[in-house]
Symmetry: C2
Subunit: 240 residues, 2 copies
Protein backbone atom coordinates (compact mmCIF):
# COMPACT_ATOMS: atom_id res chain seq x y z
CA UNK A 1 0.00 0.00 0.00
CA UNK A 2 1.50 3.36 -1.02
CA UNK A 3 1.55 6.46 1.16
CA UNK A 4 -0.96 7.93 -1.22
CA UNK A 5 -3.44 5.11 -0.56
CA UNK A 6 -2.88 5.44 3.11
CA UNK A 7 -3.69 9.14 2.97
CA UNK A 8 -6.90 8.65 1.03
CA UNK A 9 -9.99 9.46 3.03
CA UNK A 10 -12.42 6.52 3.19
CA UNK A 11 -15.49 7.72 5.06
CA UNK A 12 -17.56 10.90 4.68
CA UNK A 13 -16.14 12.04 8.01
CA UNK A 14 -12.60 11.55 6.81
CA UNK A 15 -13.43 13.48 3.66
CA UNK A 16 -14.77 16.38 5.68
CA UNK A 17 -11.65 16.28 7.81
CA UNK A 18 -9.40 16.54 4.73
CA UNK A 19 -11.46 19.43 3.41
CA UNK A 20 -11.15 21.22 6.72
CA UNK A 21 -7.39 20.70 6.69
CA UNK A 22 -7.15 22.26 3.23
CA UNK A 23 -9.35 25.21 4.17
CA UNK A 24 -7.30 25.83 7.29
CA UNK A 25 -4.11 25.66 5.22
CA UNK A 26 -5.51 28.25 2.80
CA UNK A 27 -6.57 30.51 5.67
CA UNK A 28 -3.13 30.28 7.28
CA UNK A 29 -1.20 30.91 4.08
CA UNK A 30 -3.33 33.92 3.14
CA UNK A 31 -3.04 35.34 6.64
CA UNK A 32 0.75 34.97 6.39
CA UNK A 33 0.38 37.56 3.63
CA UNK A 34 0.57 35.41 0.54
CA UNK A 35 -1.50 37.09 -2.13
CA UNK A 36 -4.27 35.02 -3.70
CA UNK A 37 -2.24 34.90 -6.91
CA UNK A 38 0.82 33.54 -5.11
CA UNK A 39 -1.11 30.83 -3.29
CA UNK A 40 -0.37 27.62 -5.19
CA UNK A 41 -2.10 24.28 -4.97
CA UNK A 42 1.32 22.76 -4.29
CA UNK A 43 1.87 24.91 -1.25
CA UNK A 44 -1.67 24.28 -0.03
CA UNK A 45 -1.20 20.53 -0.32
CA UNK A 46 2.14 20.71 1.47
CA UNK A 47 0.73 22.74 4.35
CA UNK A 48 -2.22 20.35 4.73
CA UNK A 49 0.16 17.38 4.63
CA UNK A 50 -1.25 15.88 1.42
CA UNK A 51 0.02 15.02 -2.01
CA UNK A 52 -1.07 17.54 -4.63
CA UNK A 53 -2.83 14.83 -6.65
CA UNK A 54 -4.83 14.00 -3.56
CA UNK A 55 -6.21 17.51 -3.21
CA UNK A 56 -8.34 17.00 -6.30
CA UNK A 57 -10.38 14.39 -4.47
CA UNK A 58 -11.80 17.17 -2.32
CA UNK A 59 -11.69 20.33 -4.42
CA UNK A 60 -11.61 20.81 -8.16
CA UNK A 61 -9.13 23.72 -8.04
CA UNK A 62 -7.32 26.25 -5.90
CA UNK A 63 -10.17 28.68 -6.72
CA UNK A 64 -12.77 26.22 -5.43
CA UNK A 65 -10.95 26.11 -2.10
CA UNK A 66 -10.99 29.91 -1.93
CA UNK A 67 -14.72 30.00 -2.77
CA UNK A 68 -15.43 27.60 0.07
CA UNK A 69 -13.25 29.73 2.35
CA UNK A 70 -15.33 32.77 1.39
CA UNK A 71 -18.51 30.88 2.32
CA UNK A 72 -16.97 30.05 5.72
CA UNK A 73 -15.92 33.66 6.18
CA UNK A 74 -19.37 35.12 5.57
CA UNK A 75 -20.93 32.60 7.94
CA UNK A 76 -18.44 33.50 10.68
CA UNK A 77 -18.93 37.20 9.94
CA UNK A 78 -22.72 36.97 10.19
CA UNK A 79 -22.35 35.40 13.62
CA UNK A 80 -20.10 38.27 14.68
CA UNK A 81 -22.47 40.86 13.24
CA UNK A 82 -25.40 39.40 15.17
CA UNK A 83 -23.42 39.36 18.41
CA UNK A 84 -22.40 42.96 17.82
CA UNK A 85 -25.90 44.14 16.87
CA UNK A 86 -27.65 42.24 19.65
CA UNK A 87 -25.43 44.09 22.14
CA UNK A 88 -26.47 47.47 20.76
CA UNK A 89 -29.19 49.60 22.20
CA UNK A 90 -31.00 50.71 19.10
CA UNK A 91 -33.04 53.86 19.70
CA UNK A 92 -36.79 53.74 19.26
CA UNK A 93 -37.73 55.19 15.89
CA UNK A 94 -39.28 58.61 15.76
CA UNK A 95 -37.81 59.64 19.10
CA UNK A 96 -35.60 62.32 17.55
CA UNK A 97 -36.88 65.91 17.11
CA UNK A 98 -36.30 65.82 13.32
CA UNK A 99 -38.54 62.76 13.03
CA UNK A 100 -41.25 64.59 14.86
CA UNK A 101 -41.00 67.30 12.22
CA UNK A 102 -41.61 64.71 9.51
CA UNK A 103 -38.00 64.05 8.48
CA UNK A 104 -37.29 60.38 8.22
CA UNK A 105 -35.15 59.09 11.08
CA UNK A 106 -32.13 57.15 9.83
CA UNK A 107 -30.39 56.72 13.15
CA UNK A 108 -31.02 52.98 13.43
CA UNK A 109 -30.19 52.18 9.82
CA UNK A 110 -26.98 54.23 10.07
CA UNK A 111 -25.98 52.44 13.27
CA UNK A 112 -26.66 49.05 11.71
CA UNK A 113 -24.70 49.66 8.51
CA UNK A 114 -21.83 51.02 10.58
CA UNK A 115 -21.75 47.71 12.47
CA UNK A 116 -21.90 45.85 9.16
CA UNK A 117 -18.87 47.78 7.89
CA UNK A 118 -16.92 47.63 11.14
CA UNK A 119 -17.34 43.89 11.65
CA UNK A 120 -16.32 43.33 8.01
CA UNK A 121 -13.20 45.44 8.48
CA UNK A 122 -12.28 43.15 11.39
CA UNK A 123 -12.43 40.12 9.11
CA UNK A 124 -10.00 41.15 6.36
CA UNK A 125 -10.04 37.78 4.61
CA UNK A 126 -13.74 38.29 3.86
CA UNK A 127 -13.11 41.62 2.14
CA UNK A 128 -10.06 40.30 0.28
CA UNK A 129 -11.94 37.29 -1.07
CA UNK A 130 -15.00 39.37 -2.02
CA UNK A 131 -12.79 41.84 -3.85
CA UNK A 132 -11.40 39.13 -6.14
CA UNK A 133 -14.60 37.09 -6.49
CA UNK A 134 -15.19 37.71 -10.18
CA UNK A 135 -11.64 38.52 -11.25
CA UNK A 136 -10.03 35.43 -9.68
CA UNK A 137 -12.25 33.05 -7.68
CA UNK A 138 -14.89 32.44 -10.33
CA UNK A 139 -12.39 32.12 -13.18
CA UNK A 140 -11.37 28.52 -12.68
CA UNK A 141 -14.30 26.56 -11.30
CA UNK A 142 -17.01 24.43 -12.88
CA UNK A 143 -20.50 25.71 -13.67
CA UNK A 144 -21.82 23.41 -10.95
CA UNK A 145 -19.57 24.98 -8.30
CA UNK A 146 -20.47 28.51 -9.41
CA UNK A 147 -24.20 27.73 -9.38
CA UNK A 148 -24.08 26.25 -5.88
CA UNK A 149 -22.06 29.20 -4.64
CA UNK A 150 -24.38 31.79 -6.20
CA UNK A 151 -27.52 30.08 -4.89
CA UNK A 152 -26.02 30.10 -1.41
CA UNK A 153 -25.17 33.79 -1.86
CA UNK A 154 -28.76 34.67 -2.78
CA UNK A 155 -29.96 32.79 0.26
CA UNK A 156 -27.40 34.45 2.50
CA UNK A 157 -28.40 37.95 1.37
CA UNK A 158 -32.01 37.03 2.09
CA UNK A 159 -31.25 35.82 5.63
CA UNK A 160 -29.07 38.86 6.35
CA UNK A 161 -31.79 41.18 5.04
CA UNK A 162 -34.52 39.55 7.11
CA UNK A 163 -32.34 39.87 10.18
CA UNK A 164 -31.65 43.58 9.60
CA UNK A 165 -35.28 44.29 8.74
CA UNK A 166 -36.17 42.81 12.13
CA UNK A 167 -33.76 45.27 13.76
CA UNK A 168 -34.58 48.39 11.72
CA UNK A 169 -37.81 48.04 9.71
CA UNK A 170 -37.28 51.45 8.05
CA UNK A 171 -36.24 49.38 5.02
CA UNK A 172 -38.27 46.38 3.87
CA UNK A 173 -36.53 43.02 3.51
CA UNK A 174 -36.58 43.51 -0.27
CA UNK A 175 -34.94 46.92 0.14
CA UNK A 176 -32.19 45.45 2.32
CA UNK A 177 -31.67 42.81 -0.37
CA UNK A 178 -31.27 45.49 -3.00
CA UNK A 179 -29.02 47.44 -0.63
CA UNK A 180 -26.64 44.49 -0.34
CA UNK A 181 -26.74 43.40 -3.97
CA UNK A 182 -26.02 47.00 -5.00
CA UNK A 183 -23.60 47.64 -2.18
CA UNK A 184 -21.57 44.53 -3.05
CA UNK A 185 -19.99 46.27 -6.04
CA UNK A 186 -18.96 49.11 -3.72
CA UNK A 187 -17.46 46.58 -1.33
CA UNK A 188 -15.42 45.01 -4.15
CA UNK A 189 -14.10 48.37 -5.34
CA UNK A 190 -13.65 49.96 -1.95
CA UNK A 191 -11.69 47.06 -0.56
CA UNK A 192 -9.12 47.47 -3.33
CA UNK A 193 -9.05 51.27 -3.03
CA UNK A 194 -8.72 51.14 0.76
CA UNK A 195 -5.71 48.82 0.51
CA UNK A 196 -3.39 50.59 -1.91
CA UNK A 197 0.20 49.63 -2.72
CA UNK A 198 2.65 51.08 -0.13
CA UNK A 199 4.00 53.64 -2.64
CA UNK A 200 0.45 54.85 -3.28
CA UNK A 201 -0.39 55.03 0.44
CA UNK A 202 2.65 57.29 0.98
CA UNK A 203 1.59 59.62 -1.84
CA UNK A 204 -1.93 59.88 -0.39
CA UNK A 205 -0.51 61.71 2.64
CA UNK A 206 -0.65 64.78 0.38
CA UNK A 207 -3.60 66.86 1.69
CA UNK A 208 -4.68 67.62 -1.89
CA UNK A 209 -5.38 63.91 -2.32
CA UNK A 210 -7.72 63.48 0.66
CA UNK A 211 -10.64 62.31 -1.56
CA UNK A 212 -8.59 59.22 -2.46
CA UNK A 213 -7.73 58.31 1.12
CA UNK A 214 -10.13 55.55 2.02
CA UNK A 215 -10.91 53.93 5.31
CA UNK A 216 -12.86 50.78 4.57
CA UNK A 217 -15.21 50.75 7.59
CA UNK A 218 -15.94 54.48 7.50
CA UNK A 219 -16.43 54.67 3.73
CA UNK A 220 -18.37 51.45 3.32
CA UNK A 221 -20.74 52.49 6.11
CA UNK A 222 -21.26 55.88 4.45
CA UNK A 223 -21.81 54.23 1.07
CA UNK A 224 -24.45 51.90 2.49
CA UNK A 225 -26.10 54.83 4.35
CA UNK A 226 -26.33 56.83 1.14
CA UNK A 227 -27.74 53.87 -0.80
CA UNK A 228 -30.32 53.19 1.94
CA UNK A 229 -31.44 56.83 1.88
CA UNK A 230 -31.54 56.66 -1.90
CA UNK A 231 -33.74 53.56 -1.89
CA UNK A 232 -36.23 55.20 0.46
CA UNK A 233 -36.19 58.49 -1.46
CA UNK A 234 -36.89 56.58 -4.67
CA UNK A 235 -39.81 54.81 -3.02
CA UNK A 236 -41.15 58.15 -1.72
CA UNK A 237 -41.00 59.77 -5.18
CA UNK A 238 -42.84 56.75 -6.67
CA UNK A 239 -45.54 57.00 -4.04
CA UNK A 240 -45.90 60.75 -4.67
Amino acid sequence: MSDEDFQRARSPEQKEERKTLLLEAARELLTESRTEQELSLNELAKRAGMAKSNVYRYFESREAILLELLRQEWTLWFGELRTSVDEMRLPRPGSKPAARRGVRDFTRVDQLVLRVAETMAQRPLLGRLCSILSSVLEQNVSAETVRAFKLDSVEFVKVLSEYLHGKAPELSTAQYEELFHTGFSALVGLWALAHPAPAVAAVLEDPRLTPFRHDFARDFARHLSLLARGLLALEASRDA
Copy 2:
Protein backbone atom coordinates in the same frame (compact mmCIF):
# COMPACT_ATOMS: atom_id res chain seq x y z
CA MET B 1 25.64 54.52 -35.62
CA SER B 2 23.57 51.61 -34.34
CA ASP B 3 19.89 51.04 -35.10
CA GLU B 4 19.22 51.85 -31.49
CA ASP B 5 20.85 55.29 -31.81
CA PHE B 6 18.93 55.89 -34.95
CA GLN B 7 15.69 55.05 -33.22
CA ARG B 8 16.36 57.36 -30.31
CA ALA B 9 14.11 60.38 -30.24
CA ARG B 10 16.08 63.63 -30.25
CA SER B 11 13.56 66.45 -30.01
CA PRO B 12 10.57 66.91 -27.66
CA GLU B 13 8.32 66.36 -30.69
CA GLN B 14 10.04 63.08 -31.50
CA LYS B 15 9.65 62.03 -27.86
CA GLU B 16 5.93 62.76 -27.95
CA GLU B 17 5.65 60.80 -31.17
CA ARG B 18 7.31 57.75 -29.57
CA LYS B 19 5.01 57.99 -26.57
CA THR B 20 1.99 58.15 -28.85
CA LEU B 21 3.21 55.07 -30.73
CA LEU B 22 3.51 53.14 -27.46
CA LEU B 23 0.08 54.24 -26.26
CA GLU B 24 -1.50 53.27 -29.56
CA ALA B 25 0.25 49.89 -29.38
CA ALA B 26 -1.16 49.33 -25.88
CA ARG B 27 -4.65 50.35 -26.99
CA GLU B 28 -4.50 48.00 -29.99
CA LEU B 29 -3.21 45.02 -28.04
CA LEU B 30 -5.80 45.43 -25.28
CA THR B 31 -8.58 45.81 -27.85
CA GLU B 32 -7.38 42.59 -29.49
CA SER B 33 -8.44 41.00 -26.22
CA ARG B 34 -5.13 40.63 -24.44
CA THR B 35 -5.77 40.90 -20.73
CA GLU B 36 -3.82 43.56 -18.87
CA GLN B 37 -1.84 40.79 -17.20
CA GLU B 38 -0.87 39.26 -20.54
CA LEU B 39 0.26 42.54 -22.06
CA SER B 40 4.06 42.47 -21.87
CA LEU B 41 6.52 45.32 -22.37
CA ASN B 42 8.20 43.14 -25.01
CA GLU B 43 5.06 42.86 -27.04
CA LEU B 44 4.34 46.57 -26.65
CA ALA B 45 7.82 47.49 -27.86
CA LYS B 46 7.52 45.12 -30.80
CA ARG B 47 4.13 46.52 -31.87
CA ALA B 48 5.45 50.09 -31.61
CA GLY B 49 8.55 49.14 -33.61
CA MET B 50 11.02 49.84 -30.80
CA ALA B 51 13.62 47.93 -28.84
CA LYS B 52 12.40 47.05 -25.35
CA SER B 53 15.32 48.92 -23.77
CA ASN B 54 14.22 52.00 -25.67
CA VAL B 55 10.74 51.97 -24.15
CA TYR B 56 12.18 52.99 -20.78
CA ARG B 57 13.19 56.35 -22.23
CA TYR B 58 9.52 57.24 -22.44
CA PHE B 59 7.76 55.26 -19.71
CA GLU B 60 9.09 53.76 -16.48
CA SER B 61 7.01 50.58 -16.77
CA ARG B 62 4.19 48.78 -18.52
CA GLU B 63 1.88 50.04 -15.76
CA ALA B 64 2.90 53.66 -16.42
CA ILE B 65 1.83 53.20 -20.05
CA LEU B 66 -1.54 51.89 -18.91
CA LEU B 67 -1.98 54.79 -16.47
CA GLU B 68 -1.33 57.25 -19.30
CA LEU B 69 -3.80 55.33 -21.46
CA LEU B 70 -6.41 55.68 -18.71
CA ARG B 71 -5.81 59.45 -18.67
CA GLN B 72 -6.34 59.55 -22.45
CA GLU B 73 -9.48 57.45 -22.10
CA TRP B 74 -11.15 59.68 -19.54
CA THR B 75 -10.36 62.76 -21.63
CA LEU B 76 -11.91 61.18 -24.72
CA TRP B 77 -14.86 59.98 -22.66
CA PHE B 78 -15.54 63.43 -21.21
CA GLY B 79 -15.68 64.84 -24.74
CA GLU B 80 -18.20 62.16 -25.70
CA LEU B 81 -20.25 62.77 -22.57
CA ARG B 82 -20.47 66.49 -23.30
CA THR B 83 -21.51 65.87 -26.89
CA SER B 84 -24.16 63.43 -25.68
CA VAL B 85 -25.44 65.73 -22.91
CA ASP B 86 -25.40 68.88 -25.03
CA GLU B 87 -27.69 67.11 -27.48
CA MET B 88 -30.22 66.29 -24.73
CA ARG B 89 -33.24 68.36 -23.99
CA LEU B 90 -33.16 68.46 -20.23
CA PRO B 91 -36.56 69.28 -18.74
CA ARG B 92 -36.93 72.45 -16.73
CA PRO B 93 -36.90 71.57 -13.02
CA GLY B 94 -40.12 71.67 -11.11
CA SER B 95 -42.22 71.10 -14.20
CA LYS B 96 -43.46 67.71 -13.04
CA PRO B 97 -46.61 67.37 -10.93
CA ALA B 98 -44.72 65.62 -8.11
CA ALA B 99 -42.31 68.57 -7.83
CA ARG B 100 -45.24 70.89 -7.47
CA ARG B 101 -46.38 68.77 -4.54
CA GLY B 102 -42.98 69.34 -2.87
CA VAL B 103 -41.27 66.06 -3.90
CA ARG B 104 -37.79 66.72 -5.20
CA ASP B 105 -37.59 66.27 -8.98
CA PHE B 106 -34.73 63.95 -9.94
CA THR B 107 -35.53 63.72 -13.63
CA ARG B 108 -32.54 65.74 -14.80
CA VAL B 109 -30.04 64.12 -12.45
CA ASP B 110 -31.31 60.67 -13.45
CA GLN B 111 -31.01 61.51 -17.14
CA LEU B 112 -27.49 62.85 -16.66
CA VAL B 113 -26.16 59.87 -14.72
CA LEU B 114 -27.73 57.56 -17.29
CA ARG B 115 -25.71 59.35 -19.97
CA VAL B 116 -22.60 59.07 -17.78
CA ALA B 117 -23.10 55.31 -17.47
CA GLU B 118 -24.07 54.75 -21.11
CA THR B 119 -21.15 56.67 -22.57
CA MET B 120 -18.80 54.80 -20.22
CA ALA B 121 -20.22 51.47 -21.34
CA GLN B 122 -19.39 52.47 -24.92
CA ARG B 123 -15.74 52.97 -23.98
CA PRO B 124 -14.90 49.58 -22.49
CA LEU B 125 -11.19 50.29 -22.15
CA LEU B 126 -12.01 53.05 -19.66
CA GLY B 127 -13.99 50.69 -17.43
CA ARG B 128 -11.39 47.93 -17.72
CA LEU B 129 -8.55 50.22 -16.75
CA CYS B 130 -10.51 51.78 -13.87
CA SER B 131 -11.39 48.35 -12.55
CA ILE B 132 -7.69 47.41 -12.19
CA LEU B 133 -6.41 50.82 -11.12
CA SER B 134 -5.37 49.88 -7.59
CA SER B 135 -4.89 46.15 -8.08
CA VAL B 136 -2.60 46.42 -11.14
CA LEU B 137 -1.89 49.89 -12.55
CA GLU B 138 -0.68 51.52 -9.36
CA GLN B 139 1.39 48.55 -8.25
CA ASN B 140 4.53 49.17 -10.33
CA VAL B 141 5.01 52.90 -10.76
CA SER B 142 7.04 55.53 -8.92
CA ALA B 143 5.58 57.80 -6.24
CA GLU B 144 6.08 60.70 -8.64
CA THR B 145 3.97 59.05 -11.35
CA VAL B 146 1.21 58.15 -8.86
CA ARG B 147 1.15 61.67 -7.43
CA ALA B 148 0.86 63.29 -10.86
CA PHE B 149 -1.88 60.84 -11.84
CA LYS B 150 -3.88 61.37 -8.63
CA LEU B 151 -3.61 65.17 -8.83
CA ASP B 152 -4.92 65.02 -12.39
CA SER B 153 -7.75 62.75 -11.20
CA VAL B 154 -8.81 65.22 -8.49
CA GLU B 155 -8.79 68.00 -11.08
CA PHE B 156 -10.75 65.89 -13.55
CA VAL B 157 -13.48 65.06 -11.02
CA LYS B 158 -13.73 68.80 -10.26
CA VAL B 159 -14.14 69.76 -13.93
CA LEU B 160 -16.66 66.95 -14.51
CA SER B 161 -18.63 68.03 -11.41
CA GLU B 162 -18.70 71.68 -12.42
CA TYR B 163 -19.95 70.69 -15.84
CA LEU B 164 -22.76 68.52 -14.45
CA HIS B 165 -23.71 71.11 -11.85
CA GLY B 166 -24.15 73.56 -14.73
CA LYS B 167 -26.55 71.10 -16.36
CA ALA B 168 -28.48 69.97 -13.28
CA PRO B 169 -27.90 72.21 -10.25
CA GLU B 170 -30.00 69.94 -8.00
CA LEU B 171 -26.61 68.82 -6.65
CA SER B 172 -23.89 71.32 -5.76
CA THR B 173 -20.46 70.93 -7.38
CA ALA B 174 -19.15 69.55 -4.07
CA GLN B 175 -21.99 66.99 -4.02
CA TYR B 176 -21.16 65.87 -7.56
CA GLU B 177 -17.54 65.52 -6.46
CA GLU B 178 -18.59 63.30 -3.57
CA LEU B 179 -20.91 61.40 -5.92
CA PHE B 180 -18.02 60.53 -8.22
CA HIS B 181 -15.44 59.83 -5.54
CA THR B 182 -17.95 57.54 -3.83
CA GLY B 183 -19.30 56.13 -7.08
CA PHE B 184 -15.82 55.24 -8.30
CA SER B 185 -15.65 52.24 -5.98
CA ALA B 186 -18.96 51.06 -7.42
CA LEU B 187 -17.57 51.47 -10.92
CA VAL B 188 -14.52 49.36 -10.05
CA GLY B 189 -16.62 46.58 -8.55
CA LEU B 190 -19.47 46.71 -11.02
CA TRP B 191 -17.19 46.56 -14.03
CA ALA B 192 -15.78 43.26 -12.78
CA LEU B 193 -19.21 41.89 -11.79
CA ALA B 194 -20.76 42.89 -15.14
CA HIS B 195 -18.03 41.07 -17.07
CA PRO B 196 -17.99 37.59 -15.55
CA ALA B 197 -16.09 34.58 -16.84
CA PRO B 198 -18.05 32.77 -19.62
CA ALA B 199 -18.85 29.82 -17.32
CA VAL B 200 -20.31 32.22 -14.77
CA ALA B 201 -22.33 34.11 -17.38
CA ALA B 202 -23.94 30.81 -18.46
CA VAL B 203 -24.88 29.94 -14.88
CA LEU B 204 -26.46 33.37 -14.38
CA GLU B 205 -29.15 32.47 -16.92
CA ASP B 206 -30.81 30.69 -13.99
CA PRO B 207 -33.80 32.90 -13.03
CA ARG B 208 -33.04 32.38 -9.34
CA LEU B 209 -29.76 34.22 -9.88
CA THR B 210 -31.21 37.41 -11.41
CA PRO B 211 -29.78 39.64 -8.65
CA PHE B 212 -26.28 38.71 -9.85
CA ARG B 213 -26.95 39.49 -13.51
CA HIS B 214 -25.42 42.90 -14.05
CA ASP B 215 -25.67 45.26 -16.96
CA PHE B 216 -22.99 47.87 -16.49
CA ALA B 217 -24.81 50.91 -17.93
CA ARG B 218 -28.16 50.13 -16.29
CA ASP B 219 -26.70 49.24 -12.89
CA PHE B 220 -24.10 51.99 -12.72
CA ALA B 221 -26.76 54.58 -13.62
CA ARG B 222 -29.02 53.23 -10.88
CA HIS B 223 -26.17 53.18 -8.38
CA LEU B 224 -25.32 56.83 -9.11
CA SER B 225 -29.03 57.78 -8.93
CA LEU B 226 -29.35 56.18 -5.52
CA LEU B 227 -26.17 57.85 -4.24
CA ALA B 228 -27.34 61.24 -5.55
CA ARG B 229 -30.69 60.85 -3.80
CA GLY B 230 -28.82 59.73 -0.69
CA LEU B 231 -26.59 62.81 -0.70
CA LEU B 232 -29.57 65.14 -0.96
CA ALA B 233 -31.55 63.25 1.68
CA LEU B 234 -28.55 63.51 4.02
CA GLU B 235 -28.35 67.23 3.42
CA ALA B 236 -32.10 67.60 4.06
CA SER B 237 -31.89 65.72 7.36
CA ARG B 238 -28.97 67.96 8.44
CA ASP B 239 -30.91 71.08 7.57
CA ALA B 240 -33.94 69.80 9.46
